[in-house]
Structures are given as structure tokens and as C-alpha cells.
């Protein structure tokens, strides 16, 4: 919870309000609610429905306090009443106590008191406040309400209606914060209950938040239900690295097993909210499929071995490649999924060996110099007058950033100008959405910004450009050229890059982006790479050009992989080293805005897994390069002292600021760019657009039993009119052909797709759209035929 701190000059501030709470003077801000002012002054007022991140509703009446009025003291709802100059508030009088006890007694009239079997028991606001502010006994002797229990309101969330106290927190969250009003109060009076529409589940990407903010045990999450009691949980604060938003979370475990993540209210980042993917993918950490011991290829198969023998095998593979043809024969891909320390240790090792073929991205992001534009933070974007989106669908890729920008639009702080090839989650909230055909983005952006009404809007205040890779089947140069078009028209605009991997910004900042991965893989196909090190990277699964990645990996004689799972790529390795996962290692991470925060280790590693930084240091040692670091704090200290961008991210600064420290801006001259040609309309067939869905077949979804079934599966999305022209029925199988090959997919009618284009989700169970992407082309066109 964050509230504005009183500042010394508050006395002359026109927004300053002085009131008295329980006899003590309190300084507050105009518009602040009594309950928030009382929280700051240390006078706790009991509450159930009030939540500082949502609008007040006064549903539960628990926060009644006494306010001195013209006709004497009167009872007011402190979560609905703003402070006023000279107001006299009393929160602990006999009358307040009677009111609060009365409300608790009323709320408990129907509440089952099944605390011993309720997941919330032990951390339940109703239980706690029944003790602290309740009457201790009840006059009700009538039969309580009974309902069928529990009902599943989504695949992840269960509802025990008899426990519900109708505080309107979950329904308010769904409507106000998530924008998915799929749960609502139904019926009336004693029968009022939270319900979904019949057969339309609460399938929001943010449903887990309702469980966290439920003040009773009415909403429970399937992955945690009946797994632990709150007093058995050990908690530590960390940062989610599922995507690059970097939401603050607590890791909660019992008996060395991760059982739950909860959102922490970080004002500059997540406001307490988490997406369901981030919240529930802790299941993948404890998956049985995790690698637990080093594996070395012996004959055709991988066999378990010791770390010392695996490391010496790996070192000899690197050494012999370097000896045979120099450091250019070795390449390193990955490092964007670990900690800053992991990435830094690998940057140090590769520099020591003179390896230049290094990339933390896999041809699925943007050129690393997107970080050299004037940078914006998430807060700056969410306060900008105009937000320009040259970005993928943020609801699918970076859900909490979507919430922040949606909020900016809904609260009328910002207007969103969206350029997109397909309608996105933010299209509903955009001031203007400008569609473009892939390959024409720079020209469309330039001509749109020249329009008078658009320039007038841009002149109203700050402009932040949110830029990311919106289409994997189109060269990233179009996005960069479109960004340059914005910067030319509005040189004062700032840029929020939305590269999506958890720590991609940290990895690029420490120097793991020296060459483009697509060029490295192309070299490999030409036999110019003898040894490839994959640091938590899966080119076959993640590089948009699947064919290129597959041929490259087949052409490389020796692959060393450090990974938590055997993936399509890491299973081809000669040496496969088990990596420590999120929650199993300490360190720091950098989010998409360059905010460095601490990561925490909560559970012991799986088997003999080791963190990536340790593997790098040990390999360096075996290869005869002493990097003079032995622990994660050594690596962090070396990072802070050797990299100017990280200069302020010292251990003490990070301890003092749990919300993190934003990296120093690093200006470098932008390299001259290839200006991509404006693409013609597709001569035959359709222009291919490939984006992402939140749930895909990536390891942390596929290995989380609660999330894996939520992946929508592979399908080719077409505009209904194109579908009609094709003569295919919705759901029919069609043949989709590129120049190299063709695949069979189910077609799906979708009017958010532009006519003349087809859209497919990346990395879904089923047919792989990556087979049709040729990364040497500026844009990719496909032919669609009925079977």
C-alpha cells in the first residue's frame, strides 16, 4: 500500500488538509479518505471491502467511525468519506465499538466458521477482525445459508459461496482493474451471490488476484487449495521473471516446496497485481521433468555424470573449437532468462575467451540499440498524455503493463494511439487504432503523425512510445524504422522498450547482445560454428525461423546446454547441465524499464542443479581464465564496479529500495540502419502475422499442470469475409504454404484480423507456424487452401 508521504512544505500546500484523529493532529491531502489518513497515523480501522487500489464502495460498513458534525458526533463510513479541514475523527469510542461489533456479528450470521478446514484460516481478515473488533459471541441461532460447494468459476479459481461476505472486491477488481467483468453479484437480499454467467467462466488472465484480495476464504486457487496452512508457510520477497514487467512477489514455501506466489504492491510496477501465468507457474519449478544431474553424450544417448567430468568435457569442447579456428568458431545464445549476475558472469567469460557471436535474444526481439533511445519508465508511460503503441499485444505478452496502460486510458490520464496489424487487448481502450499491413508500418506511422488532429493531441503533453516486436513473421527493421519515424516527428518522445524475456534488458546491458542470433545461426548452417553454448535458450522452440534453427543446430558438431528442462534444442546437446530455476537462486534482475530489483532463493535446487553464473565461473576456471569471483555477491560487486549502467544498483541501494533502482541511461550513437523496403500487397495468398498468447507451450506453462490446459492450441485466424471467400468453414483444416513447406492447421474465424492477412499464435501445441517463417525475408506471405 502506498500513500502520499506528508512533505515539509505541506503547510503552504493548497491541497493540504489538517484533521484530528483520536485527538492527535494528522496532515492529509485533499480528496484523501479518512481510512487512508488513519492508516498513516497508525489508527487502524477495521475493513473488508476497502482496497487502496480500487474505488471505494462502502459495501461492508465495517469501517464506521465517529466524525464530529454540526449536530454532534455522527457515524460515517470512513472508506467513503474524504478528509476535511478541521475534521475531528474518533475511531475507538464506545459507539464505534458497538457499530463495529454489530457489523461483525451480522457478517458472521451466515458465515460458516469452518476456519479449521478453510485455506484462509490463519491469514483471514474476517477471522482476525472478528477477534480484534468482534463481539465475541452471536445472538443468531437460525440456520445458516447452504450452497453447493465449491463451484469452479474458472479453471483456476473456486468459489465457496457460503463463506462470501459480499464485499465486492473480486467483482470490482474484475470490472475496474482487469476489465473482464465476467463475475457479478446475482440475485438479491439473502440470496445475493457472486456468479459468472451460465457456462461463461471467469477466464480472465488476472483471476488469481481475486483470490489474493478476497477477505475471506470464499475464493480459492486450484493450485494452492488444501496444500498448506498459512502458519506453515515461509515467505520471502522477490521479483517475478516470467516476463520483463518484473512484478514484485512473495515466494511462499513449506517443507522446501514452493506453494504460492502472492503479489506485492510495488507502486512503480505492479500495484499488487499479478497475471495468472506469473502467479501459478511455480508448479513448473517442482516439475518431475526438471533436469537434476549433468548429462554427457556417450554414443547416441545422454548419460548422467558428475559435475567435474561434465565441466571438463564442456571445457574441452570449447577449447578444441577455439584451438581449431579461433573464438569465432564458438557462439553463445541465451542468458535473458536468468539473473543479472548469471548474464554478467557469461558476459565476462565470453569476453575473456574473445567470443563475439553472443546474443541473449533469438531473433524474436528488437536490435539491442533500442535501449539507446531516450528511455521512459512504466510510470512515465502511464502518465504520458499520449502513448504510442508500436508493440505486440501487451495483454498477451506483458499483462501487468497492459493493466497499467489500460488504467491510464480509463482514468483519462492518457490517450493511446495504437499502430497494429491485428486488434489487440488495448484496442478497446485506444483513442485511435491505426491498422497497417506488415511491411508498411514506417510509412503508415509517418503519414498518421502528419495528420493535424494527431499532431494536436501529441502537442498536449509528454509522448511515450511503447515499442516491441509485434510480428515474428516480419523483419524487426520495420518496427525500428517506425520508431525512428516517431522520433523524427517528435524528438522529445521517450521510449519504453517492451522486450519480453524476464531479464533480457539486464542481459543486453551487460553485453550479451553482440551479434544478431539469426546471423549466428546462419553462420552455423554454413559450417562456421563448431561449438554452441545455450544458456537457457531454445532456438528451435523460440527462434521465429524454425527451419533455420533446426538446420543450424544440426550443423553444429558440439552443443553445450545449460537448462532447467530438456527442450527441443538442449536435448541435442553433447553436454547438458542442469540449471537452478527461479526461486532456487539469489541475485538481481532488470525489468523492461531498466529497474533492478532483488531476486530471492526460497527453496533448495533440484538435484545438483547450479545457477548459470556458477557454471560460467567454473568453466572459466577449467579453461584457465581466473575471473576472480567466487560467489554471487562477488559477481554483483564486479557488475556494479565494471558497468556504468549498474553503478547505482549496489547491494545497499537495493536493500534500501525494495522497489528497485532504475539503471543509469546509457547513450550510444545509433548505428546507421538498413531502411527496409515498403512491402507490396501480397501477390498471392495472405500476409502472415505471428504474435503470442499468454499461455503457450513454453516450459513454464507446459510444465505447470494448472496452466498447460489453458493454451488455446494452434490455429490460423482469418477474417470471416476472407474465410467465406476461401470457402472454408470455421474450424476446418486448411493447408497453409510458404515457399519452403506447408503445414495443416485448423482455421478460425476472427474479425480482429485484418482482411488480406492471417494471424497465428506462436509456440502453441499443434502445428508450428514457425515452419513457414523465413527470417531472410522482409515479410512472409502464405497461401491458404482448403483440403
Amino acid at each position: 500500500m502506498t500513500t502520499t508521504e506528508p512533505t515539509p512544505e505541506i503547510a503552504v500546500d493548497p491541497n493540504a488538509v489538517n484533521l484530528t484523529i483520536n485527538g492527535r493532529p494528522v496532515a492529509a491531502r485533499k480528496g484523501e479518505l479518512i481510512i487512508a489518513a488513519a492508516d498513516r497515523s497508525g489508527d487502524y480501522i477495521p475493513r473488508f471491502c476497502y482496497h487502496p487500489r480500487m474505488s471505494p464502495v462502502g459495501m461492508c460498513r465495517q469501517c464506521l467511525v465517529e466524525v464530529e458534525g454540526p449536530r454532534g458526533p455522527m457515524m460515517v463510513v470512513s472508506c467513503m468519506t474524504p478528509v476535511a479541514e478541521g475534521q475531528v475523527v474518533r475511531t475507538e469510542t464506545e459507539q464505534v465499538k458497538r457499530a463495529q461489533e454489530g457489523i461483525i456479528e451480522l457478517l458472521l450470521a451466515n458465515h460458516p466458521l469452518d476456519c479449521p478446514v478453510c485455506d484462509k484460516g490463519g491469514e483471514c481478515p474476517l477471522q482476525d477482525q472478528a477477534f480484534s473488533h468482534g463481539p465475541g459471541e452471536s445472538r443468531f441461532i437460525e440456520e445458516k445459508r447452504h450452497y453447493e460447494k465449491p463451484i469452479a468459476i474458472s479453471d483456476l479459481v473456486l468459489l465457496d459461496r457460503e463463506r462470501c461476505i459480499l464485499c465486492d472486491r473480486c467483482t470490482r477488481f474484475a470490472d475496474e482493474v482487469a476489465g473482464d467483468a465476467l463475475i457479478h453479484f446475482t440475485s438479491r437480499g439473502n440470496n445475493t451471490q457472486v456468479q459468472t454467467f451460465p457456462d461463461e467462466p471467469f477466464s480472465s488472465y488476472f483471476s488469481g488476484n481475486t483470490v489474493q484480495i478476497c477477505p475471506v476464504g470464499a475464493l480459492t486457487a486450484q493450485p494452492y487449495r488444501f496444500k498448506a496452512r498459512p502458519w506453515d508457510l515461509e515467505k520471502t520477497e522477490s521479483t517475478c521473471t516470467t516476463c520483463s514487467v518484473g512484478c514484485r512477489i512473495t515466494l511462499e514455501s513449506s517443507r522446501d516446496e514452493l506453494l504460492r506466489y502472492q503479489g506485492v504492491d510495488s507502486d512503480p510496477v505492479n500495484h499488487g497485481w499479478l497475471c495468472d501465468k506469473g502467479r501459478f507457474n511455480f508448479e513448473s519449478v517442482k516439475s518431475d521433468a526438471r533436469l537434476s544431474n549433468p548429462l554427457v553424450r556417450d554414443g547416441g544417448s545422454l548419460v548422467e555424470t558428475s559435475w567435474s567430468s561434465a565441466l571438463s568435457t564442456a571445457a574441452s569442447l570449447i577449447r578444441s573449437a577455439v584451438n581449431a579456428g579461433g573464438a569465432s568458431r564458438v557462439a553463445v545464445l541465451g542468458g535473458a532468462r536468468g539473473t543479472n549476475e548469471d548474464a554478467h558472469a557469461w558476459a565476462r567469460l565470453t569476453s575473456a575467451l574473445g567470443i563475439d557471436s553472443v546474443d541473449a535474444q533469438l531473433g524474436d526481439g528488437l536490435p539491442a540499440d533500442v535501449l539507446s533511445y531516450p528511455q521512459a519508465t512504466i510510470d512515465e508511460a502511464a502518465r504520458a498524455s499520449t502513448i504510442i503503441l508500436l508493440a505486440p499485444d501487451l495483454k498477451e505478452e506483458l499483462p501487468i503493463l497492459y493493466l497499467r496502460l489500460r488504467d491510464a486510458s480509463e482514468k483519462k490520464r492518457s490517450r493511446i494511439l495504437e499502430f497494429t496489424a491485428k486488434e489487440s487487448g488495448l484496442t478497446r481502450y485506444a483513442w485511435k487504432t491505426v491498422p497497417y499491413l506488415p511491411g508498411t508500418q514506417p510509412a503508415v506511422v509517418a503519414s498518421t503523425l502528419a495528420d493535424a488532429p494527431i499532431s494536436a493531441q501529441m502537442a498536449t503533453g509528454s509522448v511515450v512510445v511503447v515499442v516491441g516486436r509485434s510480428n515474428l513473421a516480419e523483419s524487426d527493421e520495420y518496427t525500428m524504422a517506425a520508431l525512428d519515424a516517431v522520433m523524427t516527428a517528435h524528438p522529445n518522445a521517450t521510449v519504453l522498450p517492451v522486450l519480453r524475456r524476464g531479464n533480457v534488458r539486464g542481459a543486453l546491458t551487460v553485453g550479451l547482445g553482440r551479434r544478431d542470433a539469426v546471423d549466428i545461426l546462419a553462420d552455423a548452417v554454413n559450417g562456421e560454428i563448431d561449438c554452441l553454448v545455450l544458456v537457457g535458450a531454445d532456438p528451435i522452440g523460440d527462434c521465429p525461423d524454425t527451419e533455420l534453427a533446426r538446420r543450424a543446430l544440426a550443423a553444429i558438431p558440439n552443443i553445450i546446454a545449460i537448462d532447467t528442462f530438456a527442450t527441443a534444442s538442449s536435448s541435442k546437446a553433447s553436454v547438458l547441465l542442469p540449471a537452478a530455476a527461479f526461486g532456487e537462486k539469489d541475485g538481481t534482475t532488470t525489468n523492461l524499464e531498466g529497474r533492478v530489483t532483488r531476486l530471492a532463493r526460497k527453496v533448495t535446487v533440484n538435484g545438483t542443479s547450479r545457477p548459470d553464473w556458477m557454471v560460467a565461473l567454473e568453466l572459466a576456471d577449467v579453461l584457465g581464465h581466473d575471473l576472480a569471483m567466487a560467489s554471487v555477491s562477488d559477481v554483483h560487486a564486479d557488475l556494479v564496479s565494471s558497468n556504468a549502467a549498474f553503478a547505482s544498483a549496489t547491494r545497499s541501494a537495493l536493500s534500501a529500495h525494495p522497489d528497485g533502482v532504475v539503471l543509469e541511461p546509457v547513450r550510444s550513437s545509433s548505428p546507421s540502419r538498413v531502411v527496409p523496403p515498403a512491402a507490396e500487397r501480397p501477390g498471392f495468398g495472405y500476409r502472415l502475422v505471428v504474435g503470442r498468447k499468454l499461455y503457450d507451450n513454453g516450459r513454464n506453462v507446459a510444465e505447470s499442470p494448472s496452466l498447460a490446459p489453458l493454451a488455446p492450441g494452434s490455429a490460423l485466424h482469418m477474417h470471416p469475409l476472407d474465410l467465406e471467400r476461401l470457402g472454408a468453414a470455421d474450424g476446418a483444416s486448411v493447408k497453409v504454404s510458404g515457399d519452403r513447406t506447408s503445414i495443416v492447421m485448423d482455421v478460425k474465424s476472427d474479425d480482429s484480423v485484418q482482411r488480406g492477412t492471417v494471424w497465428a499464435a506462436w509456440a502453441q501445441p499443434g502445428a508450428n507456424i514457425g515452419e513457414l517463417i523465413d527470417s531472410t525475408k522482409w515479410v512472409n506471405d502464405v497461401k491458404v487452401e482448403t483440403l
Binding site: 473482464d180 465476467l182 463475475i183 438479491r188 454467467f197 451460465p198 457456462d199
Partner: protein
């Protein structure tokens, strides 16, 4: 035919146009849906959501607040017998028992032929005429057992068709207000000054 018919969609759009905010039309459209199908179907609620820009859950949440929207099929004639004080004193309980026997259903039930649904209702604001009942919300006053029997016979024989339409029809005369005859309703957030008739007498 569970979504709104083409004709009703046209009507629905006219109704939506009367309000500064589309979702204000939710309840009038629910009446329209109930008139079409005799009860409010899930498909109609989803359709209404599309028409007013709300989720199906929001439409359902609003609709389910009201007793008079039915989500399961009811008889062609919904008979509500008042059971509140004045009617209770004047023999409503006996009338209800008689009605149950006559129709062969318990309160809340629907006859097998789908003609009648019997309900107990709260005060219908006709205490001087107790005991009273409503058939599809059309009154019958000072109802005796014999009156009830002849009412049922008349309804069955179709003799009251002119007076009492099937369940769901609020009024047979529909008000049409062409859009250009509307007052041009303004959403509250767009109201920036006091109305002209206040003539500066009060600050907004």
C-alpha cells in the same frame, strides 16, 4: 429463437438510442426479451450484453435482481396471489390452497399443459380490494374461490385474450419515439453548466 429477433433488434436499437449511455437500456431490453420468449433466455442476455456494451455476467447480475424477470419457462399465465397482511386477513391462505387444488400444482409450480404458473406475491398495493391476485400483472380484486375457478376457465377458453396477453408482454401499445424527437440526452460527465431554467439561481 432465443436471441432477439430481427424486429426486436430494430426496436432494441431504438430504445438504446434514448439513453446517453447504452447500458441504461438494459432493463427495457430485458422486458423485450421476456416479451419475445415468455422468459429471459441466456442467449437473449448475451445478445443484450452485445447491444448495450456490457458482459453477459453484468446483464445477468442486473436481471437476477428482479423477481419479475424469469430465467426458466413459466406458464402462459402467471398467477400471483398476494399473501401480505390485508389479503392474509381476508383469506389469501385459503385462496392459495384452493388454487393449488384447482390447478394441481404447488405454489411456484407450472401446470403440465404450460398454461399456468402459480406464485405467492408480496403486497400488490390493492389492500382495499383484498384478497387480490394478478394474472400476468393484471389485477383481479376480492377474489373468491368461485371467482378463481371462473378466471381459470375463462383463461383456458381464451375469453380473456383481449384483456390479458401472454406472460412477458408489459404493454401491447409500444411507445415509439423517433430519434429526432428525443431530447438529446447528455451523459452526466458532459454537463458543464447549470441548466438554463435555473437562471443562475444556484451554482451547479
Amino acid at each position: 429463437m432465443a436471441r432477439l429477433s430481427e424486429e426486436n433488434v430494430r426496436l432494441a436499437k431504438e430504445i438504446v438510442g434514448r439513453y446517453p449511455r447504452a447500458r441504461s437500456a438494459t432493463i427495457p431490453l430485458l422486458h423485450l426479451a421476456q416479451q419475445q420468449d415468455g422468459h429471459v433466455t441466456n442467449e437473449a442476455m448475451a445478445h443484450i450484453g452485445e447491444l448495450v456494451g456490457a458482459t453477459s455476467a453484468e446483464v445477468y447480475g442486473t436481471a437476477s435482481f428482479y423477481e419479475m424477470f424469469k430465467f426458466e419457462p413459466v406458464g402462459k399465465y402467471l398467477i400471483n396471489i398476494c399473501g401480505t397482511m390485508s389479503c392474509a386477513l381476508m383469506g389469501a391462505e385459503d385462496l392459495m390452497h384452493h388454487a393449488e387444488h384447482r390447478l394441481g400444482v404447488k405454489l411456484g409450480g407450472t401446470t403440465d399443459d404450460g398454461m399456468f404458473t402459480l406464485e405467492r406475491a408480496e403486497c400488490q398495493a390493492a389492500c382495499t380490494e383484498a384478497p387480490c391476485l394478478q394474472v400476468n400483472y393484471r389485477y383481479r380484486f376480492r377474489v373468491t374461490d368461485a371467482d378463481f375457478d371462473s378466471l381459470v376457465d375463462d383463461l383456458k377458453a381464451g375469453r380473456l385474450n383481449d384483456e390479458i396477453p401472454a406472460h412477458g408482454t408489459v404493454a401491447r401499445v409500444r411507445q415509439h419515439i423517433p430519434l429526432d424527437r428525443g431530447v438529446g440526452a447528455v451523459p452526466p460527465e458532459d454537463v458543464t453548466e447549470a441548466p438554463a431554467w435555473m437562471d443562475g439561481k444556484a451554482a451547479l
